[in-house]
């Protein structure tokens, strides 16, 4: 290429970001091949470090990482370890070189705040700084950047995922999806080598361990199970080595942050050296300016690492059991994460699975590659793949006595829905306090609290006679909605569980203030317009469906569909009222139509599939089903959208 001419109408390129504990990477996929973009440090890897100079602008990358040694409190590394965790959870960790702000209120305890010399920053802001840097590198090289898929450890809970989303919002990114790191790696390998069968991904990173079992077939990546530990990783090994160094050098309890940072750095250095050679040594500061040599062999390191590896074996076995599989069912193992470069880890994994792990893709880049490919697939510019993911942790309700009733157990495929019934426990009880929790421990207090809400004004009745129906819905983005309904009184309550841990919406809005383009009423008007367009499209589709598949409806169902259609048409023709009211009325009427056509849609899908499955390709089936949906019009629009790359962003 002679000239890289900027085409203002160039379609936006979706990107994938591996926001790692130690290093971060941004990549994109073009013509079925993923490529890493050059970061501000000049290579593919951007150290996940941010340096906050006094009175200056934050600096990201290699320089920030170097500053960790001279000004440990001004430079934040491994911020990902702190994402979505609260002060009390992390303040006891050893070799922590950051200065944490002591929370001044219960509210402030929900989030970790670093003191970087008179300034306070949260891990969310640190992560946003890294994302912003990667985004701007991508813009330099791709001109028009579309949505982004960001990877997270499979075992991240809701708080940690939400913190990641918040960071992306702060950096001005449009998140297409958060993708689990091991799944991303499987996508990268699966697409490159057209893998079929059952695969395990063993992901030992800097701060977290995950294992995921997937089955790959017909372009569908189905996660069977996932399991992990958010506090097990290379950092633990570093700390174990550093502890040995401490004992050896006799520093006692009076280690300064500078000394701790240095010892940790040397520990990491030694670990890396031992990936290359059988024996190695590093220099530690001794008493009165002297130097001490500290040596270690691969075998000694192996012994130090062994308890951590045994912990990973238990987690592997649990994941296989959840997937109803044996070690021998696994066709291949994919290694992910910097810590899997250690010879002891590789040996352990190949012995456990009796197989040499796959290794054709650079382990540093494989996660970002998978994210880039999934971003392209979601934006409609990449390969035709579908990823079916599962819930990483159980979702449930607190019961009387502080136990947990698991409504959606871990490893349930998403999207997912489930119901449960609760009854009153005291006579004349007129309300329920509902507490939604996430986790696999038996006590609600040991799980992550996601939301509390209440349902009041129930008729007084003897205990056990009031029945509360609770429904959980998790959508394809992993967002949970909980609905509670009491039949006899018709009372209901609903919460959208979209927790923003630590950072309130106002705080984020404040941080985003300049990004706001529209006033509230503008937004409202636009929303009504969208609703109208929606309603017209869906009416069209329903009418078409009635022409072709009305026979799948019972007489009374047909009546209901007609009524719902009529209600929506009347509303569209009526003069517009106040935008807000008009919008919600349209929404309600549309919802009603969706509700009465739901079962019908399923029957129509089945008819289309069984009619089409006789010896034709999946693409043909998809076409057939689209016909059945009566959505040719939409499809046309979709195609046009695809060509210009202007897929409408998902409404959040």
């Amino acid at each position: 290429m002679l000239l890289d001419i900027f085409d203002p109408k160039a379609p936006p390129t979706p990107i994938g970001i591996d926001l790692g504990t130690t290093n971060s990477i941004v990549a994109y996929a073009q013509d079925g091949a993923p490529r890493a973009l050059v970061t501000c440090d000049g290579g593919a890897l951007l150290p996940s470090a941010v340096y906050y100079p006094k009175g200056g602008k934050p600096v990201v990358g290699r320089l920030a990482k170097a500053k960790k040694l001279s000004e440990p409190r001004q430079a934040i590394t491994s911020a990902k370890r702190f994402l979505g965790r609260n002060y009390s959870e992390v303040q006891g960790e050893s070799f922590r070189t950051e200065a944490l702000v002591k929370p001044r209120s219960a509210e402030e305890d929900k989030i970790v705040r670093f003191d970087v010399g008179g300034r306070e920053v949260t891990p969310i802001e640190v992560s946003a700084e890294i994302l912003r840097s990667l985004y701007s590198s991508a813009k330099d090289q791709l001109q028009n950047v579309g949505g982004v898929v960001i990877t997270v450890p499979a075992y991240f809970d809701d708080a940690q995922r939400q913190a990641t989303r918040d960071a992306a919002r702060l950096a001005g990114l449009e998140v297409l999806r958060l993708l689990n790191e091991p799944t991303a790696a499987a996508v990268a390998y699966g697409l490159e080598q057209a893998l079929e069968g059952s695969y395990a991904v063993y992901d030992l990173g800097g701060g977290t361990f995950d294992v995921t079992v997937l089955s790959l077939s017909d372009g569908v990546f189905q996660v069977q199970s996932t399991s992990g530990d958010t506090a097990l990783g290379g950092d633990d090994i570093d700390r174990a080595i550093a502890q040995k160094m401490h004992d050896f050098a006799g520093y006692g309890d009076h280690g300064s942050p500078e000394l701790d940072a240095l010892v940790l750095d040397q520990a990491r250095q030694l670990k890396h050296l031992l990936s290359e050679s059988e024996e190695s040594e590093v220099v530690l500061p001794g008493p009165k300016g002297t130097e001490l040599n500290f040596g270690m062999s691969q075998a000694e390191l192996g012994a130090l690492v062994s308890p951590f590896l045994e912990r990973t074996e238990r987690i592997v076995r649990r994941a296989l059991k959840d997937a109803h599989q044996e070690l021998s069912d696994v066709a291949g193992v994919i290694l992910v994460g910097g810590s899997t470069r250690m010879p002891a880890v590789r040996k352990f994994v190949s012995e456990l699975f009796q197989k040499e792990p796959l290794s054709s893709i650079d382990p540093e880049l494989v996660v970002a590659y998978g994210a880039a490919r999934q971003a392209a697939a979601l934006a409609g510019t990449g390969e035709d793949v579908l990823l079916l993911d599962v819930l990483p942790l159980s979702l449930g309700m607190e019961t009387m006595g502080g136990g947990v009733d698991k409504i959606l157990p871990r490893n349930t495929p998403v999207p997912a829905g489930a119901r449960a019934t609760f009854t009153t426990y005291a006579d004349n009880q007129t309300g329920f306090e509902l507490h939604v929790v996430q986790g696999d421990r038996e006590l609600a207090s040991d799980c992550r609290s996601l939301a509390r809400f209440s349902l009041k004004g129930l008729p007084p009745r003897p205990a056990g006679l009031i029945r509360l129906e609770v429904e959980f819905h998790v959508d394809e983005n992993g967002l949970l909605r909980v609905e509670a309904k009491e039949e006899s009184s018709g009372r209901s309550a609903e919460v959208e569980v979209r927790p923003s841990y630590g950072l309130s919406d106002e705080e984020i809005e404040d941080m985003l203030i300049d990004a706001l383009e529209h006033g509230e009423s503008d937004l409202e008007r636009r929303r009504v317009k969208d609703e109208e367009v929606e309603a017209r499209r869906i009416l069209l589709a329903t009418h078409k469906g009635l022409t072709s598949d009305a026979d799948l409806l019972e007489q009374n169902e047909l009546e209901q569909v007609r009524l719902a259609v009529q209600a929506l048409e009347t509303l569209l023709e009526s003069p517009h009222g106040e935008p807000k009211r008009q919008g919600s009325a349209l929404q309600q009427a549309s919802d009603f139509l969706a509700q009465v056509t739901h079962e019908w849609a399923g029957k129509r899908m089945n008819r289309a599939i069984s009619g089409a499955l006789s010896g034709r390709t999946l693409g043909a089936v998809q076409g057939e089903v689209d016909q059945a949906r009566g959505v040719e019009a939409h499809l046309e629009e979709h195609r046009r959208g695809k060509r210009s790359g202007a897929d409408r962003p998902e409404e959040e």
Partner: protein
């Protein structure tokens, strides 16, 4: 609940081929998963979302033999009330208690061999209970009273076997 067999386009039988079950689930997901409908109207996506949930729920129900048997009873026109009260067979209860005791001992003595024997024994039993269920559902149509009693007994034994296996497989010396 909706009929999971119908949702996944499978014959209402007890012995389903797990691979076919997965394949049907994949086919339907390829059509109904909201990720396949990006750029389409939100209402259509919502509908796809709830369809995808139903498909996932049906897959879950049919994958597990206990809920598959329950779904099958419903399809055949039985209600929950049709199943006779589960009466614990005293013999089976004794056996279960004995096994628990055995498991406890194997665990405290870190006896690998004994644990493996126990696991093998209960796995064999589980397979034979599943065979009983398969036979009970062999003929189509409603089940006889005797058939229902057999199913109820098998389901209760299967539950015990699964709970035991859950516990025994989690043992870690």
């Amino acid at each position: 609940m909706n009929d999971p067999f119908q949702i996944l386009g499978l014959p209402a039988r007890f012995d389903l081929d797990p691979q076919e079950l997965d394949a049907q689930h994949r086919q339907r997901s390829l059509v109904a998963h909201p990720d396949r409908l990006r750029g389409r109207p939100a209402l259509e996506r919502r509908q796809a979302l709830s369809l995808a949930m139903t498909i996932n729920e049906a897959h879950r129900a049919l994958r597990d033999p206990i809920s598959r048997a329950r779904a099958l009873l419903e399809v055949r026109g039985h209600s929950h009330a049709d199943l006779p009260e589960k009466q614990l067979d005293p013999e089976h209860l004794m056996l279960t208690l004995e096994r628990r005791e055995n498991l406890r001992e194997a665990r405290s003595e870190k006896d690998q061999k004994r644990l493996a024997e126990l696991l093998a024994e209960v796995r064999t039993e589980k397979a034979s209970v599943i065979e009983v269920l398969r036979a009970a559902f062999e003929d189509s149509g409603k089940l006889s009273e005797a058939g229902l009693a057999q199913v109820a007994k098998a389901l209760s034994e299967l539950r015990y076997a699964e709970r035991f296996l859950d516990e025994a497989e989690a043992v870690d010396f």
